[in-house]
């Protein structure tokens, strides 16, 4: 009996039509256990980001089932899938995707607001989170004033606002230097170890393997290889 906390079963996804059709995923079945850090690796066009989009309720499969927190989400309406993202899933992006007009603290406070518009003390919670991430001096800086590593820390803080159980990261260290990249790897690992979050990272970066519980290699929309740490 597979653990259906987070995963896809027999997922097929195609883009385009007729001759231009690209089969991004071909019957992929993968499940991610609660409280683990999993890597999804593979060459460009192998279907990594498509898999992440399915897990993040940003895309529906042509065939197959997507499970989030043990519930099949395929049949849900767009509004219901937005609700699932709001409550359970968060994202970290390669390009950070911070709101350019907001300061670091406002970006994180907005993360809290998006999770629960009624929650009081958003600014205080955002401040605490940023201080914990070593950004206490940068609270009121706008994104353009931050280094890439700092931007990614703010983005992770925003993603963790409201305490979502699932964190999906797309190439989170691709834009960072070695030191900043390693620090982000440690930060996400600590989220698994200390907070029990489930983290799925799509990456080309081999540095991640040291921090991961499991690595899935995709090729041409299929699972080519799967490694699990003992």
């Amino acid at each position: 009996m597979p653990n259906h906390f987070l995963g896809v079963e027999g997922a097929c996804v195609s883009f385009g039509k007729r001759d231009a059709q690209v089969r991004a995923l071909r019957g992929v079945s993968q499940f991610f256990e609660r409280g683990t850090l999993s890597l999804v690796m593979g060459p460009s066009g192998s279907g990594k980001t498509t898999l992440l989009s399915l897990l993040g309720c940003l895309l529906s499969p042509d065939e197959g089932i997507v499970f989030v927190d043990g519930v099949a989400v395929n049949g849900l309406s767009e509004a219901e899938r937005t609700g699932v993202r709001q409550k359970k899933i968060s994202f970290v992006f390669q390009a950070f995707r911070l709101f350019h007009s907001l300061s670091a603290i406002d970006n994180v406070a907005l993360g809290f607001e998006l999770r629960d518009p009624t929650v009081p003390g958003r600014m205080e919670m955002a401040r605490d989170l940023l201080v914990r991430f070593g950004l206490g001096e940068k609270l009121n800086q706008e994104p353009y004033e931050l280094s890439p590593g700092e931007k990614q820390r703010v983005a992770i803080a925003r993603a963790l606002a409201g305490n979502p159980p699932i964190l999906l990261a797309d190439e989170p260290t691709a834009s960072l230097d070695a030191q900043a990249g390693r620090s982000i790897c440690q930060l996400l690992r600590s989220q698994v170890d200390d907070e029990g979050r489930t983290v799925v990272v799509v990456t080309h970066d081999p540095r991640w393997q040291e921090f991961a519980d499991r690595t899935i290699n995709l090729c041409d929309g299929q699972v080519e290889q799967e490694e699990k740490k003992p």
């Binding site: 980001t49 992440l52 989009s53 993040g56 940003l58 895309l59 509004a79 937005t82 609700g83 993202r85 709001q86 409550k87 899933i89 968060s90 994202f91 992006f93 390669q94 390009a95 995707r97 709101f99 350019h100 007009s101 907001l102 406002d106 406070a109 907005l110 993360g111 998006l114 999770r115 518009p117 925003r158 797309d170 190439e171 691709a174």
Partner: protein, 372 residues
């Protein structure tokens, strides 16, 4: 909604252009609205100033300024109708006025009986009469340059009759570009060459024990050769003539609508450009779990912020400008409610302007967040 505010003010140049666009639209709408309101008031000012309930005019008279003679005996006939308490007469005709220094000027000469109404400018009426001769002539202070009187009383000529300008009044300035002169009915008919058997407007006050419409119906039956109108009806008729039939109101209204459209285009353009520039952020918001309502609210709030600030700026600019314009267009009038009411179309304008932007923000695919 901090995001909405920050998005708007972050690009100061664009924000300034948007706010200026809205303020220009508000300025134009309030200015044109003031012209229209003042024009409507001026078109029926003398009718409003009478205390009468019913006006009797020649058949087909469209506006106060274009009265034609009726038989004088109609006054006696109307006075005999049950419910008619009091009658008075008003006449108006264009006349040639010769200034004290010999220059000629066309004027609109208005004559009225002293009982026509307390607000009606008649030299022999109670409130106006003090210190004036019964044949005195009054003019509006805004027409000083046209009347060219330096000291009062001043001997002038009206249709080659001697007349005495004795006082300035306020609020009855030139509406047709021709200054009004006010005098007694007796005097006016003399200047106009009216015979005693002629009249122009016969005004009736109705006993409160009678219904005005019943008296009007009775008069219509007895006097089929003239028009019998309530004061409100004659007011409306005059206003309709000047604003619709002459096209003047249409021109003013068109300018106001143009102001609205200019504002709409400016705000649409800038709000849309702002939305498209930030479209990736809307995708991020949606990926992070923002509802459609939340996204729409941000775009709409941005437009409304521009609308509110633009309205305030527009109102701050238009009030002194209208004050200055009063010296050139004495009948321009801005009621206090116009200033408040004009904020609504400007906010509506901004809301309409944001429709395309809201659509774009709502239809953006959250899945695009993974594109680097």
């Amino acid at each position: 909604m901090k995001l909405a505010w920050q998005n708007v003010v972050h690009d100061r140049a664009r924000f300034s252009v948007t706010v200026l666009g809205v303020s220009f639209a508000v300025f134009l709408m309030v200015f044109q609205g003031s012209l229209l309101t003042g024009f409507l008031q001026a078109a029926s000012r003398l009718i409003d100033a009478s205390d009468s309930d019913i006006w009797i005019t020649a058949r087909g008279v469209q506006a106060f300024e274009f009265g034609t003679p009726i038989e004088g005996r109609i006054r006696e006939m109307a006075a005999g109708v049950p419910g008619v308490l009091e009658t008075s007469r008003v006449c108006m005709a264009f006349a040639v006025y010769r200034t004290p220094n010999g220059k000629q000027q066309v004027v609109a000469l208005v004559g009225a009986d002293s009982n026509v109404g307390k607000r009606f400018p008649v030299p022999n009426a109670p409130g106006f009469a003090y210190g004036m001769s019964p044949d005195a002539v009054l003019y509006d202070v805004s027409d000083r340059d046209l009347i060219q009187v330096t000291a009062m009383p001043a001997e002038v000529e009206v249709n080659r009759h001697r007349a005495s300008i004795e006082r300035q009044i306020d609020g009855y300035g030139a509406f047709l570009g021709v200054p009004f002169l006010f005098t007694s009915y007796r005097n006016a008919t003399r200047y106009m060459g009216f015979g005693p058997e002629e009249a122009m407007y016969i005004l009736l006050r109705v006993d409160r024990a009678y219904s005005i419409s019943d008296v009007q119906q009775n008069l219509r039956q007895r006097l089929p050769e003239v028009d019998v109108l309530t004061r409100d009806e004659f007011e409306r008729k005059s206003r309709t003539y000047w604003t619709i039939k002459t096209g003047a109101g249409g021109a003013i209204l068109t300018a106001a609508v143009l102001g609205f459209l200019i504002g709409l285009v400016v705000v649409s353009q800038t709000v849309y450009a702002n939305t498209m520039e930030n479209i990736e952020e809307y995708a991020t918001l949606k990926a992070l779990g923002a509802s459609q309502m939340f996204v729409a609210r941000i775009v709409l709030t941005q437009a409304l912020i521009c609308g509110a600030l633009g309205s305030v700026l527009g109102l701050l600019a238009v009030v002194p400008c209208i004050g200055y314009a009063k010296s050139l267009i004495p009948w321009i009038y801005t009621p206090w409610w116009l200033l408040l009411v004009m904020v609504l179309p400007s906010l509506a304008m901004c809301s309409m302007a944001s429709i395309a932007s809201v659509r774009s923000a709502l239809t953006v695919e959250p899945g695009r967040v993974f594109r680097a």
